[in-house]
Subunit: 604 residues, 2 copies
């Protein structure tokens, strides 16, 4: 073991050890606080707090050891390095040292200060921890409620995100003009595209924090679905929107409107969104066919491993192909829960869920503590008081412009309306988190982007701590039933569950889902030979259900998921996973998925 | 998203995607082969094979794109770089590039060729995948059989490793002298310490491959315990021995015997071994006390997360402290199974095991395919025919010198002897694998170390493919009962299990384990107030069992682990985990742990 390698390994181990210690501290202290019914903090808030404590410690340590920093960076000038090599070998006095290319830097601005650059790579964080978090969010979405509220959720997630992005962009652009007038910023420092970018970044409400909040509070199930579904899906919208705006920006358009670049950006938005969506779905199809047509279900370990690897592949393939990995893994999670989960053995299903639950739980803690750490150690923060103030105002304003008008419009079409109390709560439950952070951190080269990054971090901490804390009193004030009856769910669903067969809605979604995808990918639904036209007879016979096993038949008919996941129900209250995924349910007749079922709450 | 970062992220995603595809291919093809009762390959062998296919593809691709390599490395000379900085900023024509220090290189020899250096870092592999593999091996060791055969296992693991190391070292030294005589090597190229190092590296039999082999074959349980226990524990011995020899080597001693360096190496051996052992145990104590004195068991997710984090911490702390992480995590796994597992809730226990099972399964596949990949892409292989031939001979010779004499000695003290058939099988079941590879790969700077690395890779492939394949015919030939009756285990144990209380052996181990550790760390065993002397009354009352819950009491008395882990039994046959960990069992009277219970097999 040579000295250098050994030393590097040691310091890496030490860093991971510190991260693990923070995670342990967070878990134990939040758990202890919760035991005392002292719900001041959830895991996210605790993790950010401990991350900040670590950041503070590192800062103090660095102040004390100021001279040590000298040794960390060296600058030298080399010509003829175009394109830059991946590996640079440096002949020093006696030895030859090996250096690896990390990236371009401009104006000596790196994401974190040099010693951290080597070890705390944000890309590693996002490639490792973000996918399971997003996947778990999508995978555990209450399928039945989600389908029932599909129209509303999609409206909030896509139209809402667009409205929110535009509102924040416009507001913040006004504030940046004010900053220029007051002499706090140079003219041209903040372009309109920077402002829109900030709008897109801040439009992503965070499924992790929202889920933690909702599970702690036990809100109404429809409200739960609306909020959680929105927060899961609007990530996709915000990510792709950010990507499109950044591309528009890079094409040189900024001050003036450039139609070509605009069309390019719109094309990119649609292309990346549909591409990622399709890719996520393709991996679901592979997993579903693999689990349907083989006897993998006899071995839960293999089943779980393959499920895990294929789901992760959807993220990686999208990233490798220049699409959005998060969007792909999100749709993969949604469709895996709807189709593949039906093919898994009961044990495989439990295992898969528990595995992702652990990944999600730990990943969440690691990312949030990293956020707290970066907040205090990022060396190039740009605090612009007016910008931050404007951002604070604009996120409330934009949320209001998003929720109230859209709810009004949706209520025109919904049988069970979204009550005003729900709307007020949704207005305040838009916590920001991991996705906003990951979007803001990707580029911190210009002053504008650094201002955006700093403001995003501050807003994330504010929404998690202050809004998260205010949620419970607000719920009580709004008179929304806080203590959801645990038994209500299965009973309420039983009438639909017992019938087994969904209504014969003629909607496009239903016919695609129930007539074609279900029979193709699972053992449920009508035989493919009935759904497909005559000419596809061979295809229908090959991909139709070859052997409907008795237990699978039963699964399709009686929706046993409530009992399968009953294990997890007991613990749900403290860890944050609404897990009763109902699979074989479908859109009920009419209503366009804008919200079905009797209104359970009292209109305020 | 700046272009550079984006590009780097894409290529990293592509690499992980390739690794995942290989894992999927391996899982599916080996599973398919096994379905046809065509046990030519297990997962390890399959993974090595696919890794080699990938390596071949990369090699061909690189041959075709020969000129591309130019762009990857650049060499420049810089003075005044002592000590070398972590981050190097290079001013190129227009941009500034950021480079991170990887390590020293001498004679332009890097582990893998440059493009791989950046992405396939072996340290990452070992820090990420090796600990769960070793932990899982130790954690699922059949506790009762292990304790029953403790003396024999320890003898094989420690004394056997030492004998094996010396034998291989001596043999190979003879061959290197022969090489010098034949002009195939320069005098002084292979020192005696290099040969001993090779001996230590090749002494580590691999728990992963051995476990896969044993589970596929269903051998006698005592033979299973002897082989698996030996392979788990001799890793510790081999790792520490390698470390000690490398240190002796680094102190400049080589040709002549240096008493100071020797004493230093011996001290290091003992220090690292006991230090790592203690560290692993300390983390078990922390986990056990945490799970004993808190109500964490009410929340299986938190329980599992904390168990996972603390077990991983044992590895990281040891690495950060300059000790052996693998040895620490090994002893942590052994003691967690014995103590902490008793404090977990039934669901937490199942979850923990399933989680580590997935990690172990995937980690094994990734490491073995990496091995196959490196075998074909490592650019500095040194094939010395005579060295390889000598190594082949010496591993059989050393194994014989290890197994037969030690079995003879052990049989003098055992009530149920180790039959000759067992000895013959043990002789051939010494598969080499992950640990040998990880020890050999750590230093490939000199020609001698590169020869060792190449030979180790070849031997690993040979033992996994040829010996692994020959095991089944050999078992039939030796007339060892292959089809172990599944029901035999619980019935056979029932007499001891039902009594609940172990014998009152006065052995040191028993009194330490049963009288002090069990009551301190779990809710089992006699009250601490009885075991400890009067003066420790306060300690005994504080750490004694505060509340023996009914289910825990039951656990201690009836050993329900068979039923708890019964879920996994069904799948054990195909995935390789002998999981019936019996916890509350102890050393039986007399016999010094050299093997108890009636001899189940017919002496050949």
């Amino acid at each position: 073991m040579s000295g250098t390698v050994r030393h590097r390994s040691d310091s890496a181990a030490l860093l991971v050890l510190v991260a693990i210690s923070i995670a342990l501290l967070t878990i134990l202290s939040v758990w202890k606080l919760k035991q005392f019914k002292y719900r001041l903090m959830n895991e996210s808030g605790g993790a950010v707090f401990y991350g900040m404590v670590l950041g503070l410690a590192v800062r103090c340590f660095r102040l004390v050891q100021g001279e040590h920093a000298e040794n960390i960076e060296s600058v030298c000038t080399v010509h003829d390095l175009n394109p830059p090599p991946h590996i640079l070998l440096i002949n020093s006095s006696s030895q030859r040292h090996c250096y690896r290319h990390i990236g371009k830097t401009s104006e000596r601005c790196s994401l974190v200060s040099a010693p951290q650059l080597g070890t705390f790579d944000p890309e590693v964080f996002f490639n490792l921890f973000l996918p399971p978090i997003i996947f778990y969010g999508a995978y555990t979405l209450n399928q039945k409620r989600f389908i029932g509220n599909l129209g509303s959720v999609l409206t909030f997630a896509f139209l809402g995100t667009f409205i929110s992005c535009m509102c924040i962009g416009a507001c913040i652009y006004g504030f940046t003009r004010l900053m220029v007038l007051l002499g706090q910023a140079a003219d041209g420092e903040f372009l309109i595209t920077d402002c829109l970018l900030f709008g897109a970044i801040m439009s992503a409400t965070d499924p992790v924090s929202v889920l933690a909040l909702l599970s702690d509070l036990r809100v109404d199930l429809d409200l739960h679905t609306l909020l959680f579904g929105e927060s899961v899906l609007n990530d996709a919208a915000a990510i792709v929107l950010t990507h499109a705006i950044a591309t528009y920006n890079q094409m040189g358009a900024g001050h003036t409107f450039d139609p070509t670049a605009f069309l390019h950006a719109v094309g990119l938005f649609l292309g990346v969104l549909t591409g990622s969506l399709l890719l996520g779905f393709i991996f679901t199809v592979i997993t579903a066919l693999l689990t349907k047509f083989t006897r993998l279900h006899e071995n839960p370990l293999l089943e779980t491993s393959i499920f895990l690897l294929l789901s992760w592949s959807s993220f990686l393939s999208a990233e490798a192909g220049g699409l959005s990995g998060i969007v792909a893994v999100l749709f993969c999670g949604l469709s895996q829960a709807r189709y593949t989960a039906l093919n898994l053995s009961p044990e495989g299903r439990t295992r898969t869920k528990q595995l992702f639950e652990v990944f999600n739980f730990l990943g969440e803690i690691f990312i949030f503590s990293y956020m707290g750490y970066i907040l205090l150690t990022f060396p190039h923060h740009v605090f612009k008081a007016l910008f931050i103030f404007g951002a604070f105002l604009s996120i409330f304003f934009s949320r209001a412009c998003n929720i109230y008008p859209l709810s009004f419009l949706l209520n025109l079409g919904r049988t069970n309306k979204i009550p005003h109390t729900f709307q007020h709560f949704m207005m305040f439950a838009g916590l920001r988190g991991v996705v906003s952070f990951s979007l803001a951190v990707r580029d911190t080269l210009t002053v504008a982007r650094r201002t955006i990054f700093t403001t995003t971090l501050l807003l994330v901490c504010f929404t998690i701590w202050v809004l998260g804390l205010a949620a419970k009193p607000l719920l009580c004030r709004l008179d929304i039933r806080v203590e959801e009856d645990e038994d209500e769910l299965p009973e309420h669903l039983s009438s639909e569950v017992a019938t087994g067969r969904p209504d014969t809605t003629e909607g496009l979604w239903h016919s695609l889902d129930y007539k074609y995808l279900k029979p193709l990918l699972t053992h449920c639904g009508p035989p493919l030979t009935d759904s497909l036209p005559e000419c596809c007879g061979v295809f229908a016979r090959v991909f139709g259900t070859p052997r409907v096993q008795e237990d699978e038949q039963q699964l399709c008919e009686t929706e046993p998921d409530d009992s399968i996941f009953s294990l997890e129900k007991a613990e749900r209250s403290s860890t944050g996973g609404d897990s009763a995924s109902e699979h074989c349910e479908d859109l009920l007749k009419g209503d366009l998925g804008l919200g079905t079922g009797p209104a359970l709450t009292v209109e305020a």
